[in-house]
């Protein structure tokens, strides 16, 4: 029983990390309707940036979160402006190839600059064990959980209450109708892609104390993020959050009860089953937010 509770707790901590990585992916897919295969590489860029700020300037990763978020917003906006935007009306396979190509280029660019070595930032403050009624978690994990909740809440308020948020929602629901109402759709897309990338920028600064960065860290996380997003119904931020928790718990339980090296098999199997049998996601949010 003790083990199970600890595993569930670990699962939730892991889930909050997946959540914070996946929110941006959902945002981009939900609004721009492009599946960003390079999302993991945005995470990698953010982590290397955090690493550089920590080693060169001695900044704590949580402080670096601010410039990294800004940096990633710019990266996302540039990618949208110069790669995705010219391809918005192209065939779907061309869009896939474009983001896949971007992903390949970025991974290998990192390999050229940093090599294949692992780099980590030593942040004892984020690796302290915190005891919660006899069960332990890391302080850094609690920070991620708090930030994931705050991020979803903040985005919710932004989308519901601000004029820009309303314009984004309108664009997501019907691009042409929004265009006819005078919404500058191209600009909305650039902002949305930037926002999605900025979310993963926040994630990268928060993940840095817990995970070392390598050029392929992105593909490690992004496949899980895709599982989460599909589970959550693809376009729903709240669905993605719930999906992330489920995958976190599945990850934690199957790693213990089945085999550590098969936990990914378990959630990829869930992923395939969801895609095939319930493509609107576990909670049916997919259609609701269409």
């Amino acid at each position: 029983m003790d083990v199970l509770v600890q595993l569930l707790l670990n699962g939730i901590m892991l889930g909050s990390m997946y959540a914070i990585i996946s929110v941006g992916l959902t945002l981009i897919f939900g609004i721009v309707r492009v599946v960003n295969f390079a999302h993991g590489e945005f995470l990698m860029i953010g982590m290397y940036a955090t690493y550089l700020l920590a080693t060169k300037l001695g900044w704590h990763p949580y402080v670096s979160a601010v410039p990294v978020v800004v940096l990633l917003f710019c990266v996302g906006a540039l990618v949208q402006r110069f790669i995705i935007q010219p391809l918005l009306n192209a065939d779907e396979h061309i869009q896939i190839f474009a983001t896949v190509g971007l992903s390949t280029a970025l991974v290998n660019l990192a390999l050229m600059i940093f090599g294949a070595d692992l780099y980590s930032v030593s942040t004892p403050s984020a690796r302290q064990s915190v005891s919660l009624g006899g069960y332990t978690v890391l302080s850094g994990q609690l920070v991620i959980l708090a930030c994931a909740l705050a991020l979803v809440a903040g985005l919710h308020l932004f989308m519901q209450k601000t004029p820009l948020g309303r314009a984004i929602r309108a664009t997501a629901q019907n691009r042409n109708a929004a265009l006819l109402m005078g919404v500058r759709v191209d600009r909305i897309y650039i902002i949305s892609f930037g926002l999605g990338a900025a979310c993963v920028g926040l994630a990268s600064a928060l993940v840095m104390p817990l995970f070392p960065v390598t050029p392929t860290i992105g593909s490690y996380f992004v496949l899980t993020a895709f599982v989460v997003v599909v589970l959550g119904g693809m376009r729903s931020m709240y669905g993605a959050f719930a999906g992330a928790m489920i995958i976190g718990i599945v990850d934690s339980l199957s790693g213990y009860y089945i085999a550590p090296d098969l936990k990914e098999v378990v959630y990829f199997a869930i992923f395939i089953l969801i895609l095939i049998f319930k493509p609107t996601g576990l909670f049916g949010f997919g259609r609701g937010t269409e």
Binding site: V35, P86, H93, L106, V265, F268
Partner: protein, 609 residues
């Protein structure tokens, strides 16, 4: 009486023998260029050059095989290396445990890959675009992780060394040139298969399914079936090459045998060369692989990541500047140059085969729909609609917009499953209910779409051929049928124009032509006169009459009242999902409920009805 007039006796055109294809410039130029892949390394005798050419042949083969699914069928698999890995492991394990020669083992691997391909393809083909790609990545990852987990069988992450038995029987050589011969042979095999598919019915069908699945179903094509054929062939070829490559590298590990980045590279070569073309994947590989291999050779470890960076950048640039790839962009021009070489004269057109005879007695029941109810959420689009279609009649269906006419069509052509009620196609005294839209088409129910569904990138003739293939599997006779139909509907002047460039009037006629080419017993026409000029409407009315006189039974939805009243033998009026009147045109137009439905209750009262 109801049989169609037999076509003039076909002029016997001698069928060209397979060997005569060699005199065509495109064939001999291709073979000459291909032979360079053997001649250049044979002259150089450098082991490195031979290695580069083996790599080119292997990747060109993989890319060509991938293109059958990714290009022809438009299903962007990013997990194709799973078949390569399955081939490699099967062959290596059969040598290790059973002592079976790789020449036999590779076929076992191909068979296994084909089975896996069906198991994955069948459920995944319903996924659209990026989600299909994601699913294939997930399958690749699962297989890779399983290969690591079951290390007792596969050697796990540590890898597996192929037993080194030298000689042709074991496909392992000291003279590297022998590897090149096999790699070249496999590439040639893959190219021939790819070329054959492109120029056969399957190739046209794959294009049709890729462009518009609904229109393909209406032409009698089962989308799942043709995609499965493509993936099985592609997987088997990929697996054969994987088996060979395992013999060449003599070392297998899950990370390289089931590699996502290699899967992406293979797809990338096709995109660079030209997706969905025969020569594209080879061309893309020939251009990109040597650069990467040479960079690796010259710069060594200092260039770690360089070739991947170049690949990725090239990929992004190609999507932005040349989305059709090299062949898609320049292929037509180069093709014309090559055709000027000796032997490039156009071949004579074949005569169309005789039309299928339609039997049966006029007036007998052909189609019977009983109590059709179709609900979409809270909306009941057809509410208890029953109708009977008699052989040889023209039945008009009219009703205000949103009345449920097209929904009725969708049900009696298999595109929608009614919520309740039944549909029966009666043929030769036997009533059947086909299960899918394509089965309806094959049972003789041809339909057009109100919102035209042309295959935009195909020419007018090719569009019509998609329909003609249903009863003429052979390309030459399908083309002949298509030529005949194009003249019949008045599209002969735009035969070789791509459908996306046609004006709406021509597109409407193209809808009719493609359906007619399937030689249906029952023709469902959904507003084919909308958007037609006055003269075109008259031509269309005459055409529909001629079709009926040839023995085809017609149901037409139409808003052009003048045309439909003069054409129809009988009219059914639908409003708000219900049949409100039926009978001959004269009595229908005087029916009070019909006038109410079209013009409102007040008008009906004012007319004193």
């Amino acid at each position: 009486m109801t049989s169609r007039t037999a076509a003039a006796a076909p002029v016997a055109v001698p069928k060209p023998s397979r060997l005569s294809a060699l005199t065509h410039p495109r064939v001999y130029v291709a073979l000459l260029l291909l032979s360079l892949l053997l001649i250049v390394p044979a002259l150089s005798e450098s082991a490195f050059i031979i290695h580069v050419f083996v790599t080119i042949c292997v990747f060109a083969g993989l890319s060509t095989a991938w293109n059958i699914v990714g290009g022809y069928a438009g299903q962007l698999s990013l997990g194709h290396m799973m078949f390569y890995g399955i081939g490699g492991y099967t062959t290596a394990l059969l040598i290790q445990h059973v002592g079976l020669s790789p020449w036999i083992g590779m076929w076992a691997g191909a068979a296994l890959s084909a089975v896996v391909a069906v198991c994955i393809g069948y459920p995944c083909f319903r996924l659209r675009g990026p989600f299909f790609s994601l699913a294939t990545i997930a399958f690749l990852e699962v297989i890779r992780l399983l290969a690591i987990h079951f290390h007792g069988v596969t050697g796990g992450s540590a890898g597996l060394i192929v037993p080194l038995k030298i000689g042709w029987a074991w496909m392992i050589f000291q003279d590297k040139f022998n590897y090149l011969i096999i790699a070249f042979g496999l590439l040639l095999l893959t190219l021939i298969v790819s070329w054959a598919i492109r120029n056969a019915r399957l190739g046209y069908y794959l294009t049709a399914v890729r462009e518009r699945e609904d229109a393909a179903s209406a032409a009698g094509i089962s989308p799942t079936q043709v995609k499965l054929k493509a993936v099985v062939i592609s997987a088997a070829l990929t697996s054969l090459i994987g088996s060979f490559h395992a013999m060449y590298t003599t070392f297998l590990e899950p990370a390289t045998m089931f590699s996502l980045s290699t899967s992406i590279e293979v797809a990338m070569f096709s995109l660079i060369g030209g997706l969905g073309t025969v020569a594209g994947p080879l061309l893309g590989t020939v251009l990109v692989v040597p650069i990467a291999e040479l960079a690796r050779g010259w710069l060594g470890a200092s260039a770690n990541g360089l070739h991947g960076f170049v690949y990725g950048t090239v990929l992004v640039l190609i999507t932005l500047t040349l989305p059709g790839g090299l062949v898609g962009t320049f292929g037509a021009r180069v093709g014309r140059w090559i055709d000027r070489l000796p032997g490039g004269q156009p071949r004579p057109e074949q005569e169309a085969p005789a039309l299928r005879q339609i039997g049966g007695m006029p007036g007998e029941t052909m189609l019977e729909a009983k109590n059709l109810v179709m609900r979409f959420g809270g909306l009941t689009a057809t509410d208890d609609v029953s109708m009977v279609l008699k052989r040889g009649e023209i039945l008009g269906i009219i009703g205000p917009n949103g009345a449920g006419k097209t929904t009725l069509f969708n049900q009696i052509s298999g595109f929608l499953q009614p919520s309740s009620g039944s549909i029966a196609i009666v043929s030769g005294g036997k009533a059947t209910t086909p299960a899918t839209a394509d089965a309806f088409a094959r049972a003789g129910v041809g339909r057009t779409f109100q919102i035209v569904q042309p295959f935009g990138k195909l020419t007018v003739i090719e569009n019509i051929m998609i329909g003609a293939f249903m009863r003429n599997p052979d390309v030459a006779s399908a083309r002949a049928v298509a030529l005949r139909v194009s003249s019949l509907v008045g599209l002969q002047h735009v035969r070789e124009v791509e459908a996306r460039n046609l004006p709406i009037g021509d597109l409407k006629r193209l809808e009719v032509a493609r359906t007619l080419a399937t030689e249906p017993d029952i023709l469902l026409l959904d507003e084919v006169m909308a958007g037609q000029s006055q003269t075109d409407t008259q031509t269309m009315v005459a055409l529909i009459r001629a079709i009926r006189d040839a023995g085809v039974t017609v149901i037409a939805i139409e808003h052009n009242m003048q045309a439909i009243m003069s054409l129809s033998d009988r009219i059914i009026v639908i409003d708000s999902g219900k049949v409100i009147a039926q009978g001959d045109p004269q009595s229908v137009v005087r029916d009070r409920r019909v006038i109410e439905a079209y013009l409102g209750e007040d008008f009906a009262n004012a007319q004193g009805l």
